[in-house]
């Protein structure tokens, strides 16, 4: 598969990678449905797309992904409005500040709901639709943070690990039906989530990340690190024995 997508949904399109991805999909000719919680921000991204590529290129729906009951209906409406679907990306995610001696259930559940429950709610109907259609591309924005349980953000690492595993299962189910499922594991991307953080390196812009993601989805790749050199780093990190890893301050 290396064709351009024509009808796409991006969940979490109001900023960062999701917004950049929506723009680039439109730039390649797709009609894009943009979904996110913040309506004002979402409308700005949509207005940019409409101004640059035409008023019919962007549809906007405000949705809090933690409202999992609404997703299925909204998904069907958007597919109808788009006239079909061949691409969906789940880019919603939050990362709460969690102190080293803090074990906050409320924050953890929020991270889990946005990062995983919302993904189930949006991508399950897409998987069902694509399986019946016998084609389509599902992209999930995971993270290198899901490759190992570091000290920093336990629930974030767990959510991203769970998401990657769930996407792998979807891939194993759907490949036989001609549906591609791609897991993206970005490193440090310049988004509102990371802006101003200390100690970042190999930072990519959201647009650079979106270009890599779109390319990976068009090629039907399975798991892609952005930038690619993180694959090697991840391999090394995953190979560190646990008794050493727990002594490392990372």
């Amino acid at each position: 598969m290396n064709k351009r997508f024509e009808r796409a949904i991006v969940v979490g399109a109001s900023s960062g990678i999701g917004a950049a991805l929506a723009r680039q999909l439109a730039g390649q000719g797709a009609r894009v449905a943009l979904v996110a919680r913040r309506g004002d921000e979402l409308e700005k991204v949509a207005e940019g797309i409409r101004t640059a590529w035409g008023s019919d290129k962007a549809i906007v729906r405000t949705n809090d992904v933690t409202d999992v009951d609404a997703a299925s209906t909204l998904f069907s409406e958007l597919v109808e409005e788009l006239g079909g679907l061949d691409f969906i990306c789940y880019a919603a995610g939050v990362m709460a500040d969690v102190g080293p001696d803090e074990y906050p259930t409320d924050k953890d559940l929020k991270i889990l709901q946005v990062g995983l429950s919302g993904a189930f709610a949006w991508l399950n109907p897409a998987a069902d639709y694509f399986q019946k259609q016998k084609r389509g591309a599902i992209v999930g924005i995971g993270s290198i943070a899901g490759d190992r349980g570091r000290r920093a953000y336990p629930s974030y690492h767990a959510t991203k690990a769970g998401f990657a595993t769930w996407l792998e299962s979807l891939r194993n189910r759907l490949t036989q039906h001609g549906v591609r499922v791609t897991t993206i594991k970005p490193g440090f991307i310049d988004t509102a989530m990371t802006r101003g953080m200390d100690g970042l390196f190999w930072v990519k812009t959201a647009d650079e990340a979106a270009a890599s993601i779109l390319h990976a989805a068009q090629k039907g790749k399975q798991t892609v690190y952005v930038p690619a050199r993180w694959r090697l780093v991840s391999l090394v990190i995953r190979s560190i024995p646990s008794f050493i890893f727990r002594r490392m301050s990372i």
Partner: protein, 487 residues
């Protein structure tokens, strides 16, 4: 018209006048004129009287920063107002500046930045005079946020060719106020300007750099992010085609608020704003244009544009915005003095079009395609966002502008002018506009399509009222509105 007689008479009265060849800023047009450099209103009034007596025409000129023929008056008198340049007052508490028309942006910021004020609208060079800025109703990289310079003028005094002075503001002589600003020197001479400056809390801006893969991506980025910034400007590499057509780099900047810059006091010193005197730390920058000259051809400029794009892409903002002095961000055209000389003896023209928001993503890429089709590629492209304003002959629209610099050579001149005609058609069909400060090629019929007969007639009626004998003329005015001057 008899320039010799008026020259003799001026000389007799102790008013210096000299026959000079005047160039447009782009050096693609020039003409001979009798130049007078008044330092006060009485001299201007006397020149008007003598012009009337001898039947000669008078044009105005500031620093000569208009690219084409807007500040030339071939075979007539040119009032060069650069010596009529005193700041009459500046109120530190309110930021209200009262100044003579020859005061330049440079003079304003040097005086006002240490006091915490910045000109609300600045051009890409710091040398234009207030008179020139008002005549052309100049915009800056913040046009969609704050409008043109005219939006910040509280009032002005205008001397008509009959020697009368009119005080104009939004209530008093409002019709003249809204027509003389942007009126390309056709209604009278600005003799005093009241300008409201912008309060600043730091001598620096917070700047982000963003690379965009093509012109439409740049438009999308502008439109999505325009509420989050005070300034936006896009540099465009005009050479690539296909999916990279109009690729470029955006620089987006915000003012720093009170307390947001821990070095605010130091950065507001005049010296902190000065542009670097050397390029790469070693090359005296006033020599750089000489080295640029061998590169000023399609091959060289393709390479320079590509290098700029790829290095800019590598240097995009990836975590933290950087801070840059106001002058360094604003006055990009002043980094390399005399760079326009590198374009060679025929100079350059800049073709800048202002296209409504809904049409820009269709029109501007088409203009670039048309350039490629005619094998005349701009060596520099600049993209900006604009808004409407209330001035009668304004260039601004709620949309985008694309400025393209073309090298003029003796062999491409006809083809280039024809290319501009082609582009005029595309732009005017979409409701777009051109800009007197840049223009060197506009035809009368193009102007009529842009501003419409009714608006042009309203302007001309004002001109007939203030300048009944059509004493005020320029090469641009005669080229674009020949009907006003035919006897």
């Amino acid at each position: 018209m008899d320039l010799t007689e008026i020259a003799v008479e001026l000389d007799r009265e102790g008013i210096g006048a000299s026959a000079e060849t005047l160039y447009g800023w782009g050096r693609s047009t020039h003409s001979e004129a009798l130049v007078v450099r008044p330092t006060d209103k009485d001299t201007i009034r006397r020149v008007f009287e003598l012009a009337e007596k001898h039947g000669v025409t008078v044009g105005f000129r500031g620093s000569g920063c208009s690219y084409g023929d807007a500040s030339q008056n071939g075979d007539g008198v040119v009032l060069d107002l650069t010596n009529f340049a005193k700041v009459r007052s500046f109120d530190e508490s309110t930021g209200l500046l009262v100044a003579e028309p020859g005061v330049t942006l440079e003079m304003i910021w040097r005086q006002c930045v240490p006091l915490g004020w910045w000109p609300p609208v600045v051009s890409g060079t710091m040398y234009p005079t207030l008179g020139g800025l008002l005549s052309m109703n100049v915009h800056g990289k913040n046009n969609w946020q704050v409008g043109t310079i005219g939006n910040h003028v509280r009032s002005f005094e205008l001397m008509t060719p009959r020697g009368e002075t009119l005080r104009c503001d939004r209530e008093q002589n409002a019709d003249v106020f809204h027509a003389a600003i942007g009126g390309f020197g056709m209604l009278g001479c600005f003799t005093e300007v009241e300008l409201q400056l912008k309060k600043i809390w730091s001598g620096r801006l917070e700047v982000e750099a963003i690379a965009t893969a093509n012109l439409r991506e740049m438009i999308a980025w502008f439109e999505t992010n325009k509420d989050d910034f005070d300034y936006l400007v896009g540099w465009v590499d005009c050479f690539p085609r296909g999916t990279a057509l109009g690729r470029g780099l955006i620089h987006a900047a915000r003012y720093l608020g009170e307390g947001q810059d821990d070095q605010a006091k130091a950065t507001m010193r005049e010296s902190a704003q000065d542009l670097p005197s050397r390029i790469l730390g070693v090359m005296p920058k006033n020599k750089v244009w000489y080295l640029m000259r061998p590169m000023l051809n399609d091959y060289g400029m393709r390479a320079i544009n590509a290098a700029k794009f790829w290095s800019g892409k590598r240097g995009q903002t990836r975590n933290e915005p950087y801070k840059q002095p106001h002058a360094a961000f604003a006055f990009l055209l002043d980094y390399v003095p005399d760079w326009k000389k590198a374009y060679g003896p025929e100079g350059l023209i800049q073709y800048q079009t202002f296209v409504p928001k809904e049409a820009a993503s269709d029109v501007h890429p088409r203009l670039l395609e048309r350039c490629h089709k005619r094998h005349i590629v701009p060596y520099l492209g600049v993209y900006k966002r604009h808004r409407n304003d209330p001035f009668l002959m304004t260039h601004a629209v709620d949309g985008f502008s694309f400025a393209m610099d073309f090298r003029v050579t003796s062999s491409n001149r006809n083809e280039l002018w024809q290319l501009c005609r082609d582009m005029d058609e595309i732009v005017t069909e979409a409701g777009g506009r051109l800009y007197f400060a840049k223009d060197a090629t506009m035809l009368p019929r193009t102007a009529e399509t842009i501003w419409g007969k009714e608006t042009i007639e309203r302007f001309h009626a004002l001109k007939r009222r203030l300048d009944p004998n059509s004493r005020l003329q320029t090469n641009l005015a005669r080229r674009v509105f020949p009907g006003w001057f035919s006897s």
